[in-house]
Symmetry: C2
Subunit: 218 residues, 2 copies
DNA sequence: TTTAATAGTGTAAAAAATACACATTATATT
DNA sequence: AATATAATGTGTATTTTTTACACTATTAAA
């Protein structure tokens, strides 16, 4: 008697200055018609990491996203049929890479949709709890991970970077101090390129210098 | 068909200047005669948190320890019978509270024994991997948690506190700077008591001021 | 009384964090 | 062409935190 369990994916992105989370509208028992994190059963002969990638793809259309384990939930009442353990994973994706791709390829789910993290409805199962844990983890790791850069376009403005910090920390930051701090970190590459398509002064673009980042943290 | 899985407990303490981990010598298939983290199957009608407390007690004799979830492991090959998912928990205990109590009350395990974290043998299942993750978590959280104080006697010397920091971080620290930093944190209560039974100058004892600690982190 | 072992202490320098306001620039509007 | 709009980009002074560094004090045992 082997383990029978599900995985769930908490997928964040950043768009129009807001932190967003990807949810599915369920088309199946239980919690049919409810919004839920993309998730499903792991196959018997499938490694959990394969499963979570497959399931993320089937339920959202997203491929090759980097999912990291968040938490296991095993409450006896989390599923109407009894305890079904789930392992929740978390991923960060660039909105530009995925904006036209979020569409389930199974019909277990009716649609996939980005929600502002502050406007998430009551979700199926214990998914609101998982979301809360995910946001806390994002906050804890903000300064020690590339999370902000995975979620931004590859070339980003300092204002965008600051917006992520503010969204994740839930507080506003001083622009000058933020910029000073970021450039002192030493792993931002200043580009000779500027924002386009804005009706005001275009901001300079930056990208993450991964080599320097890795030197600092490994 | 509900979830069938195990929990494992990674239990740390601090003794004689060393960080230690509690392991069982297994008396049952699989990995009979191997050392392993205390762990066993969760009962069908038992919440996971209850299970992990029960199992910690049955395999080590320790009660009322605070266990926090670390990671779920679900490798297809982690168990010879096929995938048995396990959820690993982590706890920190005071050596003085438990020194005479680590004894299994089931006979699934032959004995429970403290190992220096640097002298852990090859363990059953994927327990060496779990240990590594636990040590990393300990390190990440060192400055933001009461971990060091849970693992020390309630009244401790600053040298003991420093030894924990050094053991967890794996580097030596400057005594004066360490003491300055700790007293600046503002949540150490200086007692009018001193170490006894040492054959050299007795050090002053301190304890954690939990109220002040909580004010800072909540 | 001497030895051994650890406790306990201060200062100067460097680095990082904070508080704070205005001129600049690109586009859109009239 | 002039103006309005909206966001960009920048500096300094102050405070706080971190770092580097070495000797005297105290206790018990020999």
């Amino acid at each position: 008697m082997l383990s029978f369990f599900t995985v769930d994916c908490l997928i964040f992105t950043f768009h129009e200055g807001k932190l967003k989370v990807l949810l599915n509208e369920r088309n199946e028992y239980p919690y049919r018609d409810w919004w839920a994190m993309p998730g499903y059963f792991v196959d018997k002969q499938e490694e959990m990491e394969e499963a979570v990638n497959r399931i993320a793809y089937e339920h959202t259309g997203l491929k090759n996203i980097y999912l990291e384990q968040l938490v296991a939930m095993a409450g006896l009442k989390r599923h109407p049929e009894g305890r079904i353990l789930t392992v929740a994973y978390m991923a960060l994706v660039r909105y530009d890479d995925v904006k036209n791709k979020v569409k389930p390829v199974t019909n277990y789910m009716r649609q996939a949709k980005w929600f502002d993290v502050n406007e998430v409805p009551e979700l199926a199962f214990d998914h609101n709890d998982i979301l809360k844990l995910g946001l806390e983890k994002l906050k804890r790791n903000l300064n020690y991970s590339t999370a902000s850069f995975e979620i931004l376009p590859e070339k980003f403005t300092l204002t965008q970077l600051q917006q992520i910090y503010e969204a994740v920390l839930g507080e506003t930051l001083d622009k000058r101090n933020f910029r000073k701090r970021m450039s002192n970190l030493g792993y931002l590459k200043e580009l000779d390129e500027y924002q386009t398509g804005v009706s005001y002064r275009a901001a300079r673009l930056y990208k993450l210098d991964k080599r320097k980042f890795l030197k600092l943290f490994a």
